[in-house]
Amino acid sequence: MSPDPGTAPEAALPRWSRRRLLRDSALGFGALAFSALFPSQAAPGGWAPADGRPRGTHHRARARNVIFLYMDGGVSQVDTFDPKPRLSREDGKPFGLRMEPTQFEDNGATLGSPWAFRPRGRCGLPISELFPWIGSRADDLCVVRSMVSRFSEHNAANYFLHSGTGMSGRPSLGAWTTYGLGSENRDLPGYVVLDGGLIPSGGVDCFGSGFLPASHQASLFRNDLPALANILPLESRPDLQARKLRSVRALDRTALDRLGAHDPLEAAIRNAELAYRMQMAVPEATDISGESAATRRLYGLEASSEHTRAYGRQCLVARRLVERGVRFVELTCTRAHGNARWDAHGDLRNNHSANARAIDQPIAGLLADLEGRGLLGETVILWSGEFGRTPFAQGRDGRDHNPHGFSLWMAGGGVRGGMAYGSTDEYGYKAVENPVEIHDLHATLLHLLGLDHERLTHRFGGRDHRLTDVHGRVVHDLLA
């Protein structure tokens, strides 16, 4: 699949047939535009957002949506999902392997994990006591313990994790997803980032659309109301806006009569229509006040920690968005440990405890809630940071960045739950068995969504670009 370069995706449809469709529809073009203002006049079937027409899949999709739980700063694998008894045995001793250069070059001794692991779920997957709640969902989790990245610095590693390239300006995974699959909701954007308060290092470029059409960039929702800029009408009464927009529509119709049917004009009018509906849909989708007390408890919205409550709200809104057909939702972290994220260069114990406390119950709640609503089977959950952390200490009580081996997990649609894949060495330092590259992760995620990472291309600057560049392979062992 290689959509036409640099033009509106509608161009993929035969131009005249599409226009004829519009013209021939019973009420003509005007009925399509602002149909929401005239609820009695239903829009013809097959309506699609201006730039979100689903392009179709390459093969049968295993999932329809993605929720990416981004673990900003890099979680320590040896304290979470990759138990290493040898680390504890050699705690405080000189590190047993050659050390690669690190960000701070302040390498200390081997540092055993302060947290115990125990087998969880029917599968018996060992999970650190940092995650009692998530551990209870062990049978859902497909843990990859052999992740590798190519960058040991946040910005580049974040761009790499998000866009497959260690620099800014490339389309992110979410953009590629909506580019490939379009949006399922005519009232909401297809790619939403729920901002927990910490924009990743590297900035919102992590969520950009790069050379893909701008409609594929993420809409950044605040974890509060209103979630989106310019979403609230400024008129003193709601009917005033509707009245005004109806007049605008009348004026536009005469302009169209005079100027002929130009694609950009038609698309802009459809966007105005979507914008009008988003004014209702976005506040509705992000307002959790109608959720039941049980649901709120499930997500930790009544927890004592404000960070648990904040992340719980994000998770709950994520479910509401997925429920409404938003393709790709990413959650950024809260300030559970100041501005440090998971980036525990020192004070590992407090850092990881605080971060884990913020996300543990909400994520388990999200998994349970999705399952209960029948959404888990069609939603992929990805939990990952941009890299892991060193098994040896930075200074005395921290861990430095480690791209040579780290853990992530997936759950949900098409993913094999209750398993661990790949492994690191005895110290949890480097991936030794079945290493998985970021490109492989991307290829696998796209595969789950029914997209072939080699065929999902966009021509830009004279060549076809892919999320995985010239790399990537689908890791079939992770699939159910």
């Binding site: 300006g169 003193s236 605008v248 009348a250 005469t254 100027l259 002929g260 966007n271």
Partner: protein
């Protein structure tokens, strides 16, 4: 047939239509008939032929898709076995049978599905012949891995590839083509129309009828000034304007200052303009707005394009810099600021990589902007598609490596230069009058020194309480017949000299400190090297060594042939004698500003010791061109020193943290950005953490003999002064005398201070010096050795390269570089009449802005991956004409705006034309265009009668909203919602805080050249127009304005509605439109009457109507 294919065809023996193909193959086979077909042991010449002619082709053209990385269609081409095995469609090579081998058929474009390399014009005939011969001779393919492309690894291969690529259409000189004659030439007054119409006729199409005069008027306003027409202009233009009337309109718009504002913004996209560096801290780019103002003035002045380009590349070096006609300041140098508008990060962990990345961005921007080429692709390997080698890339990098960032100090109005000249003259006069005056004073026994020292020491050591101090000083002066003011200063200096560790020149002359005043100074350790590192001997760089480069006025050396006037300067209290060899920024006046930069040197030791003096100035060690030290010290801790030593030379050291930069190239910057000064004697690089001894000050004369120390002081000072007056070598006494004179400690008695009048005159002149303009600029540095970095990695330097322009454009020979960085010669080569790209690229850019799309659609890429021109002859016609016309952008724009092609209607009214030319490449109509975010905002302000037309100056800070992230601490200013009502071009471009409205409407992220903006079409645009408080604010302002225009109750609002409509859309409303607007007014009436005064209600009603007009598609689209 595409033009690209046509240009290729002349190396192709038969017509490219496909029918001649087989005939040629047959002919080729006949020619090869005598060649031995046997596939035996390959001989050396076959191997050589393969390695030289075929393997480079396989590697550069095929390997990316059919190599180890991926195997499209299951095919690999990197071994004989793989080729024999072939891919999904069968064997690629049948040895001995080229005409049946799929590889050959594919590269020959034998069919639509058999055309390789993919999406590229067919290869040159010579290449095809080589491949045919190779297969026919048995497809010899020695085992072994492919060489990695890179000029050093297969030079002969590159030569071959280069040869096949350098005839690309855009690399050939444009030739003035014959102007075609369309059937109806009367319709086509301008040759442009003839080209366009003839092409349409050839396709059986016709141009559209002319747009209405109103649409035309709105369109020319949009493209030339970016502002909507005033209703008065609309009325004056009428309904049937003559060509003369149209020309007058265009001339008026081109003469308007708004023209430069509009076109400067276009250019800013090319040079990734921003006011800040982006990345984590988003530090400001100093003086970036000066470059923006330069652009506006340059476009308004219609600076010839070649000159404009030269200013960008070498504006600091041009022999006759262009001066602003109003103020007289140097304009040319301002253009060079564009080099430094790149992103930058503080604390790069790998400064060499960081440097290489910034240079890469500079090359990228340079080559795309001025040449329409993607030279930066050749950073790691020879260009995959164009005639650009890695060698070319690093040859360009060499110019940049021999240049440095500067904050130029620019004479604001021409008076600084003349005043400076006059200052130098007066120093000359001063110098001439000093000798006899000093001689005369010495004849009278002046100046008095020792009595002051004795008196001051007595006073200082007497322990006088503060409240009695001035009385006691005055009393002592009276008693001893001394000048009270001078004595007061002496007491201050004695105190300073008595401090522990003082290097004060009076120190050796103080009496023994039995009372504990002056402890003996601790001996400075002698210069020794640490045993740890003896690899490199210490070295010293003196300020008068060759290679230091001044910038600005402050470090201006004395003019040659002026004798010794350079040895005195006027300090704040008195005259000061300068040691020889000092680099001194206050030589002529403290108010002068500028920088002095050392030659480039390698950091060989852990410590740099600087012997210097100064006040309110700085020294910076610039490592690997890293330029953000002034904002953040991380990883570059000690590399910047504030200098405040007073007038005495002292040692300052750059010590901690240098070790991690060992081996890197660096230079020192002495920066005088204000009224202070800085003077440098020398720099010592050493592993010894302490500065060298002995100290610069001479030992005192009173070491032995037990005589009271002041004895001999008068004589020493007098001897020093006499030695200078007699032009004898100045001993230590001269330095001492200078030190005392500078401090105002010399009492000349009745003879008066020598040349006091001249000194006073110089002081007055100094006070009146105008402050310079400071601007971001480029300046020359040392010529640094330039090398290829293998695979772009700074850690693997390869072979050396000369400074040279692209081989494909300037030939292979070295450039004759007279001196310095060579940027001047580079600029000349870029703007040479023989550069085929320069004019093609710019006329295409202008075309794109006027017609919505370029003749070459990929306006920044005229290489193999760009799109070929839709009208190649027209492009060349324009390029040649533009050059002939002296490179006047205004005349080009004027010409194009008056063509019929431009004036066509944009309606998609002809279904047949739309079907035949759906993307309107043939220009069967004008293109409908949406306003860019900047133009949209300007139109909102202008329509609301609310636009402040003030020009130039620092940017208006961006208005911050809660949706722009939570990193507000990074920035220090929040701008007003209405941007001070100034045009968008004056709004700040903070990389981390780009204006949401502009971004929503496709402001390009300022990263590299963007000549063609995205045209996104997203709901956020509609949301912004519906609900952005700024838009609403302008609707309210407009409503107020409209009502204020005819206050009082309006019986029939139709007149008002018409006025609104004309103002916003440049035409009268149709009856249906008037009705729709009346409906809206009527609908809001009920609500409006509900609360508040009638006047308020009236404003609310009309606000909704004004807002509705903003929301129409016609407001945001120019037909």
């Amino acid at each position: 047939m595409s033009p690209a294919a046509r240009t290729r065809s002349d190396s192709w023996p038969v017509g490219p239509g496909g029918t001649g193909f087989r005939a040629w193959v047959t002919a080729g086979l006949a020619l090869l008939g005598t060649v031995i077909r046997a596939v035996g042991t390959p001989n050396d010449s076959q191997v050589a032929f393969f390695e030289e002619r075929v393997r480079p082709f396989l590697v550069t053209e095929c390997r990316e898709c059919h190599g180890p990385g991926r195997q499209r269609g299951g095919l690999r081409v990197d071994s004989r076995e793989a080729l024999l095995r072939g891919g999904d469609s069968g064997p690629a090579v049948l040895p001995g049978r080229a005409s049946e081998s799929r590889l050959f058929l594919a590269v020959s474009h034998a069919g639509p599905d058999l055309a390789m390399p993919k999406d590229r014009p067919r290869l040159a005939g010579a290449v095809l012949r080589d491949i045919a011969r190779w297969i026919d001779e048995g497809a010899v393919f020695p085992a072994g891995s492919d060489p990695v492309p890179g000029s050093s690894e297969h030079p002969s291969g590159w030569a071959k590839v280069f040869e096949s690529r350098r005839h690309w259409w855009s690399l050939r000189p444009p030739v003035d083509p014959t102007i075609p004659a369309p059937r109806d030439p009367d319709d086509a007054e301008d040759a442009v129309d003839r080209f366009v119409f003839a092409r349409l006729e050839a396709e059986g199409l016709r141009a559209s009828p002319p747009a209405t005069p109103q649409v035309w008027l709105r369109r020319v306003h949009g493209v030339i000034t970016g502002l909507p027409p005033e209703p008065a202009q609309l009325a004056a233009f009428g309904t049937d304007p003559s060509m003369e009337a149209r020309a007058r309109v265009v001339d008026g718009l081109l003469a308007s200052p708004a023209f430069g504002e509009r076109w400067a913004r276009h250019w800013m996209d090319l040079v990734r303009f921003a006011d800040s560096y982006g990345h984590e801290q988003d530090y400001p780019i100093p003086h970036a707005w000066r470059y923006r103002d330069y652009l506006i003035r340059a476009f308004n002045a219609d600076v010839p394009y070649g000159r404009f380009v030269q200013e960008h590349l070498a504006g600091d070096l041009l022999p006759n810099p262009r001066r602003d006609p109003v103020s007289g300041h140097d304009e040319s140098v301002l253009a060079t600021g564009f080099w430094y508008l790149h992103q930058a990060t503080h604390a790069p962990v790998d400064p060499l990589q960081d440097e290489a990345d910034r240079i890469d961005n500079q090359i990228d921007v340079f080559s795309k902007t001025f040449l329409g080429l993607t030279v930066a692709c050749a950073r790691c390997h020879d260009h995959k598609f164009d005639a650009i080698s890695t060698r070319d890339y690093y040859s360009l990098a060499a110019f940049l490596r021999s240049s440095r960032q500067d904050i130029a100090s620019i004479d604001p109005d021409g008076s600084l230069e003349s005043r400076l000249e006059s200052l130098v003259q007066h120093h000359h006069v001063l110098s001439r009058s000093l000798r006899p005056a000093i001689r005369a004073a010495l004849g009278h026994g002046s100046p008095k020194v020792a009595p002051y020292l004795e008196a001051a020491v007595g006073l200082v050591r007497a322990g006088i309480p503060t409240n009695a101090w001035s009385g006691r000083v005055a009393g002592a002066a009276r008693d001893l017949k001394l000048d009270a003011g001078i004595l007061e200063r002496w007491t201050t200096e004695v105190r300073a000299a008595s401090a522990i560790g003082s290097q004060h020149p009076l120190r050796p002359w103080l009496p023994p400190a039995a009372e504990g005043g002056a402890a003996a100074p601790a001996p400075t350790p002698a210069l020794t090297r640490t045993p740890a590192d003896r690899s490199t001997p210490d070295w010293t760089l003196r300020a008068d060594d060759a290679g230091w480069m001044p910038s600005g006025q402050a470090f201006r050396p004395p003019p040659a042939g002026h004798g010794d006037q350079g040895t005195w300067r006027v300090g704040s209290l008195g005259l000061e004698h300068l040691a020889t060899g000092l680099g001194h920024s206050g030589r002529w006046a403290g108010r002068l500003q500028g920088a002095l930069r050392s030659p480039t040197f390698a950091l060989t030791h852990d410590h740099l010791h600087l012997h210097l003096a100064g006040r309110g100035s700085r020294v910076r060690l610039v490592i690997a061109r890293y330029g953000l030290r002034e904002f953040n010290p991380l990883l570059f801790e000690a590399t910047q020193l504030d200098v405040d030593t007073g007038g005495d030379l002292a040692w300052r050291s750059i010590t901690s943290g240098l070790r991690r930069h060992r081996g890197r190239l660096a230079y020192l910057e002495l920066l005088d950005d204000g009224d202070g000064f800085i003077a440098l004697d020398r720099v010592v690089s050493s592993d010894n953490p302490s500065p060298p001894s002995p100290p610069a000050h001479p030992p005192g004369p009173a070491d032995g003999g037990g005589t009271p120390r002041p004895v001999g002081l008068d004589q020493t000072v007098h001897a020093g002064l006499r030695s200078w007056a007699d032009d004898a070598p100045g001993g230590p006494g001269l330095d001492l005398a200078s030190g005392l004179w500078r401090r105002g400690l010399l009492d000349w008695g009745a003879s008066g201070e020598p040349a006091a009048a001249e000194v006073a005159r110089i002081r007055t002149m100094t006070t009146n010096l105008p402050a310079p303009i400071r601007a971001l600029a480029m300046t020359d540095g040392s010529v640094e050795p330039a090398r290829i970095l293998v695979r772009g990695d700074p850690k693997t330097p390869g072979e050396p390269v000369p400074r040279r322009f692209l081989e494909a454009l300037a030939g292979p020979g070295p450039m004759g570089i007279a001196r310095g960085s060579g940027r001047l010669e580079w600029a000349q080569a870029v703007t040479s009449p023989t550069n085929p790209l320069l004019h093609r690229v710019i006329v295409n850019r202008v075309w794109a802005h006027l017609f919505g799309r370029g003749l070459v659609e990929t306006v920044d890429n005229f290489g193999a991956l760009g799109t070929p021109p839709s009208h190649p002859e027209l492009l060349d016609h324009l390029a040649v004409g533009f050059a002939r016309d002296g490179g006047s952008l205004k005349r080009l724009i004027r010409r194009l705006c008056l063509t019929r092609t431009f004036g066509q209607a944009s309606e998609a009214s002809d279904a047949r034309a739309e079907a035949a030319d759906p993307s309107n490449r043939l220009l069967h109509r004008q293109n409908l265009r949406r306003l860019e975010g900047e133009a949209l905002r300007d139109a909102l302000l202008a329509t609301a009668g609310n636009l402040d037309r003030r020009r130039f100056g620092p940017a208006v800070p961006t208005h911050m909203t809660p949706f722009m992230g939570d990193r507000m601490w990074v920035r220090n200013a929040n701008g007003p919602l209405d941007g001070d009502r100034r045009r968008s071009v004056y709004q700040e471009t903070r990389r981390n805080f780009l204006s949401p409205l502009f971004v929503t409407f496709d402001l390009p992220i300022p990263e590299s050249t963007v000549g063609r903006r995205n045209g996104s079409n997203v709901p956020a645009q509609a949301l912004a127009l519906m609900n952005d408080p700024f838009v609403r604010q302008q609707a309210i302002a407009w409503a107020h304005e409209v009502i204020a225009g005819d206050p009082g109750p309006v019986a029939d609002p139709r007149e008002r509605i018409g006025r609104l409509h004309r103002r916003a859309l440049g035409r009268d409303p149709a009856p249906a439109e008037t009705r729709a607007m009346l409906d809206l007014l009527a609908g809001t009436e009920l609500e409006a009457g509900s609360s508040g005064s009638d006047a308020e209600a009236e404003v609310r009603r009309w606000t909704e109507l004004c807002h509705a007009i903003f929301l129409t598609q016609e407001f945001t689209h120019v037909p």
